[in-house]
Amino acid sequence: MAQSIAKEFTKGLWAELPPFRLVLGLCPVLAVTQSVENGIGMGLATTFVLICSNFLVSLLRNIIPAKVRIACYIVIIATFVTIVELLMQAFVYELFLKLGIFIPLIVVNCIVLGRAEAFAGKNAPHMAIADGLGMGIGFTLSLGALGAVRESLGAGTILGTPLFGPDFQPFTFMVQAPGAFVCLGLMLCLMNLIGKK
């Protein structure tokens, strides 16, 4: 039992690591990873929604009729997204400003809906939480990693702390739109290389 919880948890960290293994939910990955802080913030917000919606979906899985399943999932997810939105405005307003419309857009992030449909709707609540937590943390770490690469090269800082001397002129391409695509693409290549071994 414990073993399978661990399995559901760890698969999100490597075997099915979003967004690298499952190439889904790319928009926030590209849009908010100019810095580690944004990336992790976005990741945590998504994780929160993922865990809560997974939990509720799993809890209600025997009550929800199959035909309106997706509609119910969307209502559940949207509810938690709105909660995150409100909480972030109330407590971490600066971060909320930076993440912009990508917070409400968690609602269409197919990782969230995808986990509800593919996992939570079919499994017990504790498993669903493990799954949500694993996926969420995997997603957060990926965003953080991408944020770290882009922030360090593109701004010369990590979490706002300068990495290089004062003469350093940052490689701002990395924090711009094209840099996001290129950087994610190259990281994906790296993952493929590692995955092959």
């Binding site: 002129q169 490689f171 701002t172 990395m174």
Partner: protein, 322 residues
């Protein structure tokens, strides 16, 4: 006659016109030399330094990628050298060494090698390299600041930047003849317009570039600039001013004509070249960059696969003999 020779067996045709990728690229470098040498004479040792670092680093990046990807060594085709040469020519003589290295790295690796090497690249590698530098370290391409320490015998202002800042009054500072003969501030390989044209004509005559692209590019520049000027001569500069400044000529003869990212059929070549010229002037006149060549070329590279579908009907296609 009992010992048989081994004869070469292979398939027809048994003749070839003799071209190779290496000779093509060497001809490109040769054609670029007048403009490059002029740049070296004018900007001195730093210019030579930038050019040689660009060429050698481009070759080394390609070699490194060959090793890492465990593929055949391809530097003997001089393609990396050609790319390095073009990147170097688009940089100011005072570009720091690391800018040159990053520029050629992006050009060769991101622009070309990851697409499978020569022929696979959808965008002009040299232009990709410069574009990335341009959006990252804008100040490097501020030629006025970059060449502050030089003494020139002429108006030491980068014409296009002057145009952007002072408006059309800037035009009076420059004679078209002087611009064409290289009396202007700019990057190493693009100030000597006459030299680039010379190289371009050489390449056209030798059949190494598709002249349709170059000519329609130049026509696009002249026509669009002319129309703008017709509408409001108080704001917009003259066609010839645009032709002999910035990367225009290099773009028309050396950049837009890069093989892999440009069309090969007549109508598409003309659309492609003309679009390049039109976009260059649009960016200069109403966009935010002083020189639009780099982004205009990326844009036409982007539409290339789509427009190159316009091609003459192959023999017998859609024919009804009855």
């Amino acid at each position: 006659m009992h010992k048989q020779n081994k004869y070469t067996v292979s398939h027809a045709p048994f003749w070839h016109d003799g071209d190779t990728i290496a000779t093509m690229n060497l001809n490109l470098i040769l054609a670029a030399l007048p403009a490059a040498i002029f740049g070296i004479l004018k900007f001195g040792a730093p210019a030579l330094g930038v050019l040689s670092l660009a060429v050698s680093s481009a070759i080394l990046w390609e070699l490194a990628f060959n090793f890492i990807s465990k593929r055949d060594i391809t530097i003997a085709d001089y393609d990396a050298a050609a790319i390095g040469m073009l990147v170097g020519m688009m940089l100011p003589a005072t570009a720091p060494w690391w800018i040159v290295l990053i520029g050629t790295l992006i050009a060769v690796v991101v622009g070309k090698m990851i697409y499978g090497g020569i022929g696979g690249n959808p965008f002009n590698p040299a232009v990709v390299g410069i574009a990335v530098l341009l959006v990252s370290w804008k100040q490097i391409f501020d030629f006025d600041a970059a060449l502050l320490n030089y003494e020139f015998g002429f108006t030491a202002l980068a014409p296009l930047a002057a145009l952007k800042h002072q408006g059309v009054a800037a035009m009076d500072l420059f004679q078209t003849r002087d611009l064409a003969m290289g009396c202007q501030v700019g990057s190493i390989g693009t100030v000597f317009g006459a030299g680039i044209i010379l190289g371009g004509i050489y390449l056209i005559l030798r059949g190494y570039i598709r002249w349709e692209i170059s000519l329609s590019y130049v026509a696009g520049i002249l026509l669009t600039a002319f129309l703008f000027r017709l509408v409001n001569p108080d704001i917009y500069a003259s066609p010839l001013f645009h032709l002999f400044t910035g990367y225009t000529l290099l773009g028309a003869f050396f950049l837009a004509t890069e093989n892999s990212s440009s069309p090969v059929n007549l109508v598409p070549m003309i659309i492609y070249g003309a679009m390049g010229g039109v976009m260059t002037i649009l960016i200069r006149n109403i966009g935010s960059y002083p020189d639009g060549t780099v982004f205009a070329i990326l844009l036409i590279n982007l539409i290339n696969p789509l427009i190159d579908r316009i091609r003459p009907k192959a023999l017998g296609k859609g024919v009804n003999n009855a």
